[in-house]
């Protein structure tokens, strides 16, 4: 991967405390344009909390977050979303009572949406893009289903589709493969590669080490909220400290 010297998404000494517990402690973090970066670590190591800090869902207690060179430490989630950062969630968040298509439509790019447009039904161009993405994710046959009726794996695909709707610059995927069957995992992997080739940057939280090793150029390892290691996937997998953290001494 070619690395721009300026990171697309950067966290400087990010800290987040829950009471006395440091969920994320002084983590420096950078994702460069065009990269696929992995974030791994044992359960409770602070991966999702770091995601929440970067996507502004959680207020951070220390440090700063930069996106596209702008300080977004105090921004609200919808603001970074409009700037081009979208994400999925470990426990899938879709609008269950709405159809798959409507889920997609309402996830369009809200930046520069005029009041007049908001007072109208979604335009045909949005519907066209939604259907294209559903096709790309191989769930176009479910367009008129209620999202609450989909299987877990299908919901994950839908959520990825919703994250793609606004044409973001970076996607943060939180355990996109958990609960998904092996065939579908291959589909997701394939789609991430295609999108990355088209210029999208990815940050992935994963427990599926093969998935990470196949896709990522760089991997961060968290343990007890602190950065344990950072480097290429194969180096990381041979790192003593990482093996310790995962399998115990």
């Amino acid at each position: 991967m070619t690395s721009d010297p300026r990171p697309l998404l950067e966290g400087r000494t990010v800290s987040k405390f829950f009471g006395g517990l440091a969920a994320v402690n002084n983590v420096d973090f950078a994702v460069y344009p065009g990269e696929i970066v992995g974030l791994i670590g044992p359960n409770g190591s602070g991966k999702t909390t770091l995601f929440d800090c970067l996507s502004r869902l959680q207020k951070i207690d220390g440090g700063q977050v930069f996106f596209k060179g702008r300080d977004v430490t105090g921004a609200r989630p919808y603001q970074v979303a409009r700037m081009g950062l979208t994400r999925t969630f470990q426990s899938v968040r879709v609008y269950r009572k709405m159809t798959v298509l409507r889920n997609m439509l309402i996830s369009h790019q809200w930046r520069d949406t005029s009041l007049w447009r908001m007072l109208r039904p979604s335009p045909a161009s949005t519907a066209h893009r939604a259907r294209q993405l559903l096709e790309f994710l191989q769930i176009e046959h479910l367009a008129d289903e209620e999202a609450g009726r989909l299987s877990g794996g299908q919901r994950r695909l839908l959520e990825i589709g919703m994250a793609l709707m606004p044409d973001p610059d970076i996607l943060l995927l939180d355990e996109a493969t958990s609960g998904v069957n092996p065939t579908l995992i291959e589909t997701i992997k394939d789609r991430i590669r295609t999108l990355n080739a088209q210029g999208k940057t990815f940050l992935l939280i994963e427990h599926n080490i093969n998935f990470i090793a196949d896709l990522c150029s760089r991997v961060y390892v968290l343990n007890y909220g602190e950065k344990l290691a950072e480097g290429a996937p194969l180096e990381i997998l041979q790192n003593e400290a990482v093996i310790d953290a995962y399998f115990g001494a």
Binding site: S55, L57, R76, P77, Y78, A81, R82, T86, R87, F89, R93, V94, Y95, R96, K97, M98, R102, L105, I106, S107, Q109, W110, R111, T113, R117, M118, L119, R120, P121, S122, Q138, I139, H141, L142, E145, E146, R149, L150, S151, G153, Q154, M162, A163, M165, P166, N181, T183, L184, E186, T187
Partner: protein
Amino acid sequence: MGTGPPASRIAQKAKKKPPFPFFAPVYSLLAGWTGLAFWLLLLLLLALYPYTGVSSVALFVGSQIFVLVTLASNWNLIGGMTGYVDFGHAVFFGIGAYIMGILVTGTPLLISPEWGFWQALPASGFAAALFALLVGLPTLRLKGPYFSIAMLGTLVAMREIARVLRPITGGGVGLNLPPLLNRLGDYYLMLAVMGLVVSLIWWIQRSEFGQSLIAIREDEIGAEMRGINTTLHKITAFMIAAFFTGIVGGFWAWQNTYIDPDVVFVEARTVEMVMMSMLGGLGTVWGPPLGAVVIYFLQDLLWGNLSGVHLLPLGLLLVVIVLFMPEGILGTLGDRSSTSLGRLLSRVGRSR
């Protein structure tokens, strides 16, 4: 690409059951432009109704029903579509009523000259909307039951404030408005307000703004993370709902010619709004108006035959709705697999 998703079979199995046969054409007609066309036709018929030589009592009943439909539709915007179950929505009714009372009597505040009805009516709406902004900013941050309780608290607090602010509100003695009876005028005014509000809800529901409200109801964090300014959208919906509730409150005060804290800031009025919306179908456009009409006639019937205990069957009805048809009349008929009453009915239909 070649490997077809095997999970598609699961979705096939979970396919929605179609609406009941007799209801299917009606249900599809209610969606979209035809629904609005029917609504406008109904409004036209209601506008011609007084020309059939009806009594002033019938006109009064008409305007009462229009009031209920308007209230139910309004409540549905925040409680049904946005998912913020407002147990204190009558507070906006009360504020509208008091603004009307204070402005047209003039005496308590020594406003001179007193305002006319047509000047005071928009003021009732705007005052309620402004109050919604002030109250909504803190309370709409709360989720689920916490929001409901906070709004209930607001209602009770406003009732006591109205009681204490005697120089302005007349305190417990209340305010007497000029008794100017105009049943025909009342009928047409409330018909217009009802027509406007329900059409507005129809418009909102199919707009991206309305869809964003439903998205907020379904998953607020997800909506925010996908670029929707949830605070702005919630407050806007809340203020619209409050505005028209305030208008209705102002009208009611004028029509009733007397207000005091205990007749305008009443929990029962909120419960009524909730019940009408739920009976008809929460979050749908046509459900709450339908529920309002049913509840009105039911109340009338119970009042006449069971005075004294007439609230009991209504309470039981609420329990039955929540237990067996949480999606209301329209929801149950539209998707019979979604509620237990719908499933029961389709089972009965099959065994025959």
